[in-house]
């Protein structure tokens, strides 16, 4: 974990209520695929955890959805303004499990963290297939970015207005895969978990107090005991997940 002052280079709408923000630090920003930043937002007491979309040296990209006051304030910030950030948080995805043909599955704002993962898996020469799930056509984003990496991309929409109609699971069995990497709302993760025929890594979203493991505000019961989503997660391995009803 590092505490860094980030300067906003760009903050643009990407889809309705979804923004893409580019940030720059004076020093390299630690950011592995699946890790997150915890941003101090002026006027909000607790920080806002946002996953890393892409990172390169001193630059980091985030894609976030406006869901409350904190993200609303973020969306109104302009280039040149600064954000205090805790960086390099969370365990991130483990690329060593990917096998030759990993399948990356993202739903809504669960899509962004898969981008840096796809980029690194592609750099390792893996045949990366990506399923991006959205509610409807106008909410979709990032399809071209994954295509540009050389990934095979399937888009699903719940209402069928773009790509394949249905949930992300509808596209899972189009081709065999060696490992699943997923991020999205919990109902999606559950469905993917049930349909998954290989090993997998699932990234969970949770409200957090601190984001670095000390407040114990985001505990999650797993096969191997309680884990903190912020510090021991947000990525859990398929075999350790315990779904609670």
């Amino acid at each position: 974990m590092k505490q860094q002052q980030l300067t906003i280079l760009e903050n643009q709408p990407l889809a309705p209520g979804v923004f893409r923000m580019q940030l720059q630090a004076e020093e390299p920003i630690p950011a592995k695929p699946g890790q997150f930043l915890n941003l101090a937002v002026e006027g909000c007491y607790l920080r806002r955890p946002i996953s890393v979309h892409d990172a390169d040296g001193n630059i980091v990209l985030i894609i976030y959805k406006v869901v409350g006051r904190g993200t609303q304030i973020l969306s109104e910030m302009t280039p040149g303004q600064a954000l205090d950030a805790l960086t390099g948080l969370g365990n991130g995805y483990d690329l060593r499990d990917s096998g030759p043909a990993p399948l990356l599955i993202g739903g809504g704002v669960g899509v962004p963290p898969l981008y840096l993962l796809a980029k690194q898996l592609r750099a390792e020469g893996k045949a990366v297939r990506v399923i991006l799930g959205f509610n409807k056509a106008e909410e979709r984003f990032c399809e071209e970015e994954f295509l540009a990496l050389g990934c095979e991309v399937a888009v699903t929409t719940v209402d069928g207005s773009y790509g394949m109609q249905g949930f992300v699971t509808a596209a899972m069995d189009q081709k065999p895969y060696s490992c699943v990497y997923a991020c999205g709302p919990e109902p999606m993760l559950r469905a993917v978990y049930r349909a998954c025929k290989t090993g997998g890594q699932f990234s969970f979203e949770e409200r957090m107090g601190c984001g670095f493991g000390v407040c114990l505000g985001c505990p999650c019961k797993t096969i191997t005991g309680y884990k903190r989503i912020c510090k021991d997660g947000p990525v859990l391995r398929k075999e350790e997940i315990l779904w609670e009803d």
């Binding site: 974990m1 505490q3 101090a40 007491y45 601190c210 670095f212 000390v214 407040c215 114990l216 505000g217």
Partner: protein, 239 residues
């Protein structure tokens, strides 16, 4: 901030076996152990066991827990039950005992005095206030537990007032805490009678809150003409 995190911990034996050795690797001075219990017997058992641990400097006793044998009322809400816990712990340990008081009471001074009379070596306050928020969309409490512990800068004036009241009532040291986030807050707490000051919620926002407060303290002392922090302790108390 409102939390219902509770008092998650690995238990007495696992703390001694795993947590204390880990702490010793990064922190070489004695540490404080905070103890909570749902019965007098639990407080006694844990305190007696921790008394044997060299790495533990003193015990802080959280009396904000409900007494399962006393109708669920928290030990900290009456002078008599707070004194009972104090005496039970003091009887099984030679380490200093600090009683951590709940602010959710009608007369904090009486409770502080009862702890002192029962042998407490110090008191610390305040624990979190009981708070609640309701989600306008769902019309249900935001916290799954309905209510939770309210902390952060918003509670500082309440904490300061209670430190002042408690410090007026006892001669033993008072550790002031509750919403402290700046060097100015530290000095204000000390003026209200605190001999030491604790920082909680601020660490969650800024993991470097404590070093930052320590760094800025000398300049703030200079600004208010304070040469030695000891000189301000209780400075705002009458008499």
């Amino acid at each position: 901030m409102i939390n219902a995190v509770g008092l998650q911990n690995p238990g007495l034996e696992a703390t001694i076996r795993e947590e204390l050795p880990k702490l010793r690797k990064v922190f070489h001075k004695p540490v404080m152990a905070n103890i909570s219990g749902f019965s007098i017997e639990e407080y006694r058992t844990v305190a007696a066991r921790l008394d044997q641990e060299d790495g533990i400097g003193w015990l802080e006793i959280n009396v904000s827990c409900p007494n399962v044998h006393g109708g669920g009322m928290s030990f900290g809400t009456s002078p008599a039950s707070a004194a009972e816990v104090t005496a039970a712990v003091k009887a099984v340990t030679t380490k200093p005992v600090i009683m951590k008081l709940s602010p959710n009471v009608t007369d904090i001074a009486a409770i502080a005095k009862a702890c002192e009379d029962a042998g407490a070596d110090g008191i610390s306050l305040i624990n979190t206030l009981l708070g609640m928020r309701i989600d306008l969309k769902t019309r249900r409490p935001v916290i799954a537990n309905k209510m939770g512990g309210f902390s952060g800068p918003a509670i500082f004036p309440v904490a300061l007032r209670m430190v002042y009241q408690a410090a007026s009532a006892v001669k033993i040291p008072v550790i002031g805490m509750g919403g402290v986030s700046t060097a100015e807050d530290v000095i204000e707490m000390m003026l209200a009678g605190a001999t030491a000051v604790g920082v909680g919620a601020a660490n969650l926002i800024d993991p470097f809150a404590c070093p930052r407060i320590l760094d800025t303290l000398p300049a703030v002392m200079d600004r208010y003409g304070i040469e030695n922090l000891n000189s301000v302790i209780g400075g705002a108390l009458d008499g």
